[in-house]
C-alpha cells in the first residue's frame, strides 16, 4: 500500500473525532455482542439459558437487586457444558481433522496450483490453454451442480477420509487458485527466469529457487482465502467424508442438532465458543495478512 493508513487527506479528516470514537466503540461492541452473549450463556445451567438469556441471573432484576445478585451463583454451572459438549461431539478429534484437512489441502493447492499456473503462462500449448479455460469455467459452477456425483465418485475412489478429501479440495479449489496465480505470474518479468536459465538451472530448480520466492505475497493471499473456505466448509466434507468416522468442526456442530432432534443448548453454546476461539486466535495472529488477502482476492477474483 502506497500510503500510510494514518495519513488521511486534510479535506477528509473528521471533525468531532471524539464523538465518532464513542459512536463506533458502542457500535463495535453491539457488533460482537452476539458472540459475547453466547460466551456468557455457555457457562450457564442449561435450564436457564432461555429463561434469562441476556442476564447474569435467572431472577429478574425487577425483583430487587439482592435477590437478583443471589441468583447469579445458581445460574452458572462452570465448565459443565464444556465437558458435556466435548464428550458429545468428540470435539478434539474433530478439531484435529479440521486442522489436518485445512492445512494439507491448502499446502497442496498452493504448491501444485502455483506450479501449474507458471507452466500455463510460460508454455504456450493446447494443454495450457485448455487448463486455463477450464479453471475459469469451474469458478462459476455452484457446488450443488457436482455435489451428488462428486461424493459418489469420491466414495468409489476411496477418498472418503481425511487424506483423500484433500485431493478433492485440490481439484475443487484449483480453479480459483490457478486463476489467481496466473494473474500474478504474468507480471513477473521473464528476464528473471532467463538469467537463472543461463546459469544452468532446470525448470524445476528455476521454479522453486526463483519464481516461488517472488510469489510469496500471492501464495499468502491464496492460502488465507482457501484456509477460510476449507476450515468453515460444511457441505463438501459432510457429503464426501465417511461421517460415521470423520467429522470436521462444522459437521460436529450441525450434528449436535440432528442427532437429538431437540438442541441441547448448553452443549451447543459451549461448542460454539470452542469453535470460535481458534478462529479469533488465528485472526489476531495474522490479521494483517487476512485483510490484505481479502483485498487482493477481491480485486483479482
Amino acid at each position: 500500500m502506497a500510503r500510510e493508513k494514518n495519513e488521511v487527506s486534510a479535506a477528509r479528516r473528521v471533525k468531532h473525532g471524539a464523538a465518532w470514537t464513542i459512536f463506533f466503540t458502542v457500535l463495535s461492541i453491539f457488533w460482537i455482542l452476539p458472540l459475547l452473549i453466547v460466551l456468557m450463556n455457555s457457562f450457564k445451567r442449561k435450564a436457564y439459558i432461555f429463561k434469562a438469556p441476556f442476564s447474569l441471573s435467572y431472577i429478574p432484576l425487577s425483583r430487587g437487586f439482592d435477590r437478583w445478585a443471589a441468583g447469579i451463583s445458581k445460574t452458572f454451572v462452570g465448565l459443565k457444558n464444556y465437558a458435556n459438549a466435548i464428550q458429545k461431539t468428540d470435539f478434539f478429534k474433530c478439531f484435529g481433522y479440521s486442522i489436518f484437512i485445512t492445512v494439507v489441502s491448502v499446502l497442496l493447492i498452493v504448491l501444485f496450483c502455483s506450479m501449474t499456473a507458471w507452466y500455463v503462462v510460460r508454455v504456450k500449448s493446447v494443454l495450457s490453454t485448455t487448463i486455463y479455460v477450464l479453471c475459469m469455467f469451474s469458478m462459476i459452477v455452484p457446488f450443488q451442480m457436482v455435489m451428488f456425483t462428486l461424493s459418489k465418485f469420491a466414495n468409489i475412489l476411496h477418498l472418503s477420509n481425511p487424506v483423500g478429501i484433500t485431493i478433492v479440495y485440490l481439484g475443487f479449489g484449483a480453479g480459483l487458485a490457478v486463476f489467481m496465480f496466473t494473474g500474478f505470474v504474468k507480471e513477473i518479468p521473464i528476464e528473471l527466469e532467463e538469467a537463472a536459465c543461463i546459469d544452468g538451472c532446470t525448470p524445476v530448480q528455476c521454479f522453486f529457487r526463483v519464481i516461488m520466492p517472488v510469489m510469496k505475497p500471492e501464495i499468502i493471499t491464496v492460502s488465507i482465502l482457501d484456509a477460510m473456505w476449507i476450515w468453515n466448509d460444511f457441505l463438501l466434507p459432510y457429503l464426501v467424508l465417511d461421517i460415521k468416522k470423520y467429522r470436521t468442526i462444522p459437521i460436529a456442530v450441525q450434528f449436535l442438532k440432528q442427532s437429538h432432534g431437540q438442541i441441547d443448548w448448553g452443549a451447543m453454546m459451549a461448542v460454539l465458543v470452542l469453535a470460535i476461539i481458534p478462529i479469533v486466535i488465528f485472526y489476531m495472529a495474522v490479521q494483517k495478512y487476512i485483510i490484505e488477502g481479502v483485498v487482493a482476492g477481491a480485486v483479482k477474483g
Binding site: 479528516r13 457488533w31 506450479m115 510460460r122 508454455v123 451428488f148 478433492v168 525448470p203 469453535a275
Partner: protein, 285 residues
C-alpha cells in the same frame, strides 16, 4: 526455455489436472448426463430424457410451485442483502477512512464475524433470535418472513465486514489531490462524496455488488442451520431446495440434479454479466 519446460508437464500440470478431473470435470459432465436419467446412485441410471426437468414444475399433472417459490424467495433475499450489505459497508468504510481514533480496533471488530463459518454463526443467532422471540411464544421459523429477516440479519452481519475491507481499500486508493482540488474549488463534503469519491469507486462497487450477489444466490449453510427451510419448505433458498430434493426423498435424485443444472445456468448468467461489466470498465479506464 519454454521448450525444456514443456517436457516437465507431468510434474507441473499433472497433479493439479488429475485432481481437477476427479474433483470437478468428471462430476460436472456426469452431473449433466444424470440430469436426464432416473437414478439412486451413479451406476443404476436409466435414461428418461427431459422427464426430470418437467417434474420440477409438474408432478402428477399438477403444478408444483416449490421450486418457483424458492427462486423468487432467493431473488428477493439476494436483492435485499446486496443493498443492505453494500450501503452499510460503504458508510462504515467512509467513516473509518477519516482518521477516527480507534479505527483499527473498529475494523477488526466489524470483520470478525466473517471468519466464522455459516453453520457456527447461524447457531449463535438462532439462540439470540429464539431467546428474544421466546417472550412472544414464537421462533424464528414461525413464518416464512421471520425466517427471511433472520437470514438477512445473519448474512448482513457476516458479510458487511468483508465488503467494508474492500471498500476501505478502494477509498484509500482515491488520489488525495483529487479531493484537495475539489475542496479548493469549493465543493462541500456531500459533493466530494458524490462527484469525486463515488465515480472513482465504480470498479470497487462492481466487485462488491457481484460478490454479494453470488454469495446471496448460492447461500446454503446459514439456510440449513438457521431455518432448515421451515416453516414447511417456505424459507428454502435455491441451494437448500436442491439439496432437499436430492437427499430428502428417494427417487427424486434426478429431479434434484436437473434443478442443479438450472441453478448452474442462473449462476453462470450472473457471472457472464459481471465479466462483461468489469471488462468494459477496464477498457474505459
Amino acid at each position: 526455455m519454454s521448450k525444456t519446460t514443456k517436457k516437465y508437464w507431468p510434474l507441473f500440470v499433472l497433479p493439479t489436472f488429475a485432481a481437477f478431473i476427479i474433483g470437478f470435470i468428471v462430476p460436472f459432465v456426469y452431473g449433466i448426463f444424470l440430469s436426464f436419467c432416473k437414478f439412486t446412485t451413479v451406476t443404476d441410471w436409466k435414461w428418461t430424457g427431459l422427464q426430470n426437468y418437467t417434474k420440477i414444475f409438474y408432478v402428477n399433472g399438477k403444478l408444483d410451485t416449490t421450486f418457483l417459490h424458492s427462486i423468487w424467495y432467493t431473488c428477493l433475499f439476494t436483492a435485499v442483502t446486496v443493498i443492505i450489505i453494500n450501503v452499510v459497508a460503504f458508510l462504515i468504510a467512509m467513516a473509518l477512512t477519516r482518521g477516527i481514533r480507534g479505527t483499527n480496533f473498529f475494523r477488526t471488530a466489524f470483520f470478525l464475524p466473517n471468519l466464522i463459518g455459516g453453520i457456527v454463526l447461524s447457531y449463535v443467532w438462532l439462540m439470540i433470535f429464539n431467546a428474544i422471540l421466546d417472550d412472544y411464544s414464537k421462533t424464528i421459523v414461525s413464518t416464512q418472513w421471520s425466517a427471511f429477516w433472520g437470514l438477512v440479519i445473519v448474512v448482513c452481519w457476516q458479510q458487511i465486514g468483508y465488503m467494508m475491507i474492500i471498500y476501505i481499500a478502494g477509498i484509500q486508493n482515491v488520489p488525495s489531490d483529487l479531493i484537495e482540488a475539489a475542496k479548493i474549488d469549493g465543493a462541500n463534503s456531500h459533493q466530494i462524496v458524490k462527484d469525486v469519491i463515488l465515480p472513482q469507486l465504480r470498479p470497487t462497487i462492481t466487485i462488491c455488488t457481484f460478490l454479494t450477489l453470488t454469495n446471496g444466490f448460492k447461500l446454503f449453510d446459514q439456510n440449513l442451520a438457521l431455518t432448515n427451510g421451515n416453516p414447511g419448505k417456505m424459507s428454502q433458498l435455491l441451494a437448500l431446495n436442491i439439496y432437499d430434493t436430492m437427499y430428502g426423498t428417494t427417487g427424486w435424485q434426478g429431479v434434484g440434479q436437473a434443478k442443479a443444472v438450472l441453478f448452474f445456468i442462473m449462476v453462470a448468467v450472473i457471472a457472464l454479466v459481471q465479466n462483461k461489466l468489469t471488462t468494459q470498465k477496464e477498457e474505459v479506464a
